[in-house]
Symmetry: D2
Subunit: 334 residues, 4 copies
């Protein structure tokens, strides 16, 4: 494993998830970046766009694809990943890790594998189906809110314990909306500000429901989700609660047992805060029984465990590498 070197290409390398992927892959012990594709920045140094990489890489963006890669990461927008695969005739031997939502679910919300562009995509949530990912050729990388909420609820779904309505609120940082300029990404607006959006109708509910219904025998109840935009750049914190017969001790035992073999998920005994996971690939969970309700807090870094970090975790699994390779990241902590 020490000698293994995977050739990776990145499509859409000028955006936030592309940049974060570059930060990870440049330090990954088993990866060589073959090319970084960007239509808008082709011909320019990568560190012109991702300025923190000055001194770390002399790579240039290119608008030419190269087929001599083992894995291709698609960091383009929703809808653009499908179009890209339709227009390019890539060899089936190239593994695809798509960070968009294009192949996360299909309308039935029932099939385990999503087919499209002559490929079959496995939903890349390692804590749900690590073994399937190891065998996969193509990965649909989960959404950020979807990752945080699913990790909060997976153990309950596995035990058929999601029987009553689930209520979730969650707050995301500004990088979740990408680098495009908009009124809600303007510093003068967002600094010190809070707003909700897509209340009870966020698009990530599709992939969440697909996953959870796939695990449970019984009918899945409603999941009500209130998302907020927060005045910070990185991270997602969610609070989920539902009526549940488990005691505090039983719930902790269930969660510890479920996540015991998963290196990126920890259960915190004390009330956690978002910055414990910022700039890491970790997910932190906290359990609290309050009356009839079980409250599960979950937090991730939206660009890492919620996007590019999870993509690397999936790559590690696809190629038989250690799951944490290249992902032992120093938390920013402050």
């Amino acid at each position: 494993m020490g000698g293994l070197s995977i050739k990776a290409g990145i499509v859409g390398g000028a955006g936030y998830t592309g940049g974060e992927l570059l930060r990870l892959l440049l330090n990954h012990p088993n990866v060589e970046i073959t090319f970084v594709h960007s239509n808008s920045q082709a011909g320019k140094p990568v560190h012109d766009t991702h300025t923190d990489l000055l001194g770390d890489t002399d790579l240039y963006f290119t608008d030419a694809l190269q087929e001599e890669v083992d894995v291709l990461f698609l960091c383009v927008g929703h809808g653009a990943a499908r179009k890209f695969l339709e227009s390019e005739q890539l060899p089936a031997s190239i593994k695809i890790i798509d960070l968009s939502q294009d192949f996360r679910w299909n309308e039935s919300l029932k099939e385990a594998v999503v087919k499209g562009c002559d490929r079959e995509f496995v939903y890349g949530l390692p804590e749900l189906q690590r073994e399937s990912i190891k065998q996969a050729q193509n990965i649909a990388n989960p959404g950020c809110f979807a990752t945080a909420i699913q990790l909060a609820l997976l153990p309950l779904a596995q035990q058929n314990l999601l029987t009553e309505e689930v209520h979730v609120s969650g707050i995301t940082g500004s990088t979740g909306a990408g680098q495009s300029l908009s009124a809600t990404s303007h510093y003068s607006w967002r600094s010190g500000n809070i707003s909700n959006y897509k209340v009870l109708n966020h698009q990530h509910l599709h992939e969440i429901r697909r996953t959870l219904q796939g695990m449970q025998n019984s009918e899945l109840p409603s999941i009500n989700f209130v998302p907020y935009r927060g005045p910070f750049t990185r991270g997602i914190l969610c609070t989920s609660y539902t009526r549940c017969s488990l005691s505090q001790e039983e719930a902790e035992e269930l969660y510890n047992s479920y996540y015991n073999s998963h290196p990126f998920v920890s259960i915190s005994k004390s009330t956690p805060d978002l910055k414990q996971v910022v700039n890491t690939n970790k997910c932190l969970l906290h359990l609290q029984k309050e009356g009839d309700y079980l409250v599960v807090s979950s937090m991730i870094d939206n660009l890492l465990k919620g996007a590019s970090g999870q993509a690397v975790q999936n790559m590690n699994l696809l190629f038989g590498l250690e799951e944490q390779a290249g992902l032992r990241l120093k938390a920013s902590a402050f």
Copy 2:
């Protein structure tokens, strides 16, 4: 009314709510500040503590009470207001506006008036009971989260429409926790951070339930509240939802009708954000029907409509002044 000058005293003037009250009263056209009491800062200029008041006032903190006041604001901590009134023999003619929670409710959660220290306290939420406040001698000023949540739900309770569980999430700025230094008030910790606390067991639920049950004929359902600490200084945003038979139009009509005569509450057609109300005494509401649920967003400045601004509003009502006197504040907006 132009000539009326109310003599006001402040007890606990060195804290956040005391300072905010000073900022308001110094510019109030009908108020003369007789004294500002502080045990910890007695003998020092007020602008040593509230440094933004340099150039605005030459007042000094004192540890001596003066009885020649028309109204006394108690800006001391929870529990300390009751102790203060017990230990001082104040003439009953001095009106009291208490910003602590000491007289907001009693254990029965049923009586309209809370008795204590030989006084009767009216709960000072003008949008609930303006007429009672006008006739009152003593006011228990509401809590900040309690204000934001009640204003979101009052019209429904008045129509007996709170029949199913209510789910509320809300985020508060750092000034809500006062000026004491603590781990969660440290800049290095709180900047860019989010955490939840007192999930489903926040103390403000008492006064919320007391109010809403008092309005409804039918039994009040559970109110589940998830509070968050956010990385900003001023303001509270809450999102409440409950199953409700009203259509979007009916809900808007109900809320517009309810708040029509209340100058500090506005209904926003578009999705609002917190900074529309920061540094003002306003409450902004937004209604959204989503499936069976009615979603109500509400936002206030915790130090103003959630504390000192509402205290001045109550003072205006107690003394027959215009309700907005001294409270036409320029929003900070950014």
Copy 3:
């Protein structure tokens, strides 16, 4: 004075300074807003753009000018003010307060009055020339950094004490760059970030030099200015130092004497911080003698004393109103 009502028009009302001016004029006791002009937002409610004004005003933006005004505020961009006056034939009786830099100085940097568009513009820094402003017909409102730096140096210039190089560093919030979207106004970039720009060549040095040279008999030395962009929305803090023969006491006496009659400038004995002036029209100064150097710290809110607040202060002087009318603003403090 109580009964005086000035009819005011605003051109460029949809930008940051236009919005701030609206916030001030809506509460000003002697002003009636006749119209708010905006090409981009004509026909829409003012509170669609300046959303904090919901509930405060039912004004609509218009693209039609009205001539029945006493004063017209120009809140358009640099260059656009001159073009506006060139294209419109406004009666000379309408007083103009221009917030752009178009009439602040001319190339000679020597004349006290700048002529243009058949008008004569007096530089509107009341602490420099209040009496000239009172007699003026048209005002060129100073720049934000220029205001902060001039207020730090005026007393020295008046005494011919600016004889050696002056070194200034200053930090501005994001609203100084206006509401246009740009890489440096993106929240994800600016949050937690610092950068310098236009080091030693900021354009405000022109108006600063014009003023100071106009006061001093001797030749003005170099003024070296390092501006920074800071992660906050409102305010400017500058630190200026120069070799100076005055002692600490003499300096304090000079500054106190100079600013004694100016209601918006205070000298702080203790080390001040920016938020003492945020959301007010104040300027705070602090003096420190350190070796041969006199260090002067100065701070203002860039949108108020650095723009719209000073514009209202100038209007008050133009019309013989009390200088503080409509400008007794509650600091946001936090």
Copy 4:
């Protein structure tokens, strides 16, 4: 080198620099942490204090020293390092890396090596004297502002080009002041705020002058430094300027040549910003010739290149490891 494992101990492990050192050493390929000393937290898990380390380490704080270490990091406060070494009789064979200022300079400001506690301390700025550090037994790790300012000026001093006054302004994040609670570390105060402090008399000037005078043949001019507290957690940005005969091209050539062999320093052609280095051990420099002045901008992460990262860099040099071992850190970037 791959097999080398250095046994490291940390004294003062519960503070900010101690925590940051732990974050680095836990992932360092050649280090084994033998113990983490803390008087205040002895007996408690390390992740109780540094909560982001939950899941990364099962270490406990101890109040017992162990002598079987190769290197001991002192992360205690100024003054406490000297006391610690005086009271403990540590074998001379244990290498010491002291992060306090206790052995950075002595009163003469002239000697290359500072003696104390029977040890000789080499000033640990690798870009100044990498070879001396490699031969050293004990290291005095530089201060954060001192690192940023020295890296901006070293090439000039080496060429005897510091002949006229140097003017420096710099802004630091809140972690520079450590984890103790104080008025200026309170979130409600610091958020959105700016203040200066110790203007022209900051204590780091001692070590800066010692270094620069040691390099220059000619007398060192005054260095005037204006430090600011900024509303962010990590990082320092400094702007230094002095009259200099070099052209833009000559300056770039000098700096590129000087830093060519130093892996953590990069020269940016475009105007940089602080977040390019946050959460890394890098220093970024930018050069601008403006009239007679050469302007040098420099930026570092105060906890990494300004403290614990530099300490690890020094350890790498002391033990003959690759200079970047354990220090290839993913920037937080946002």
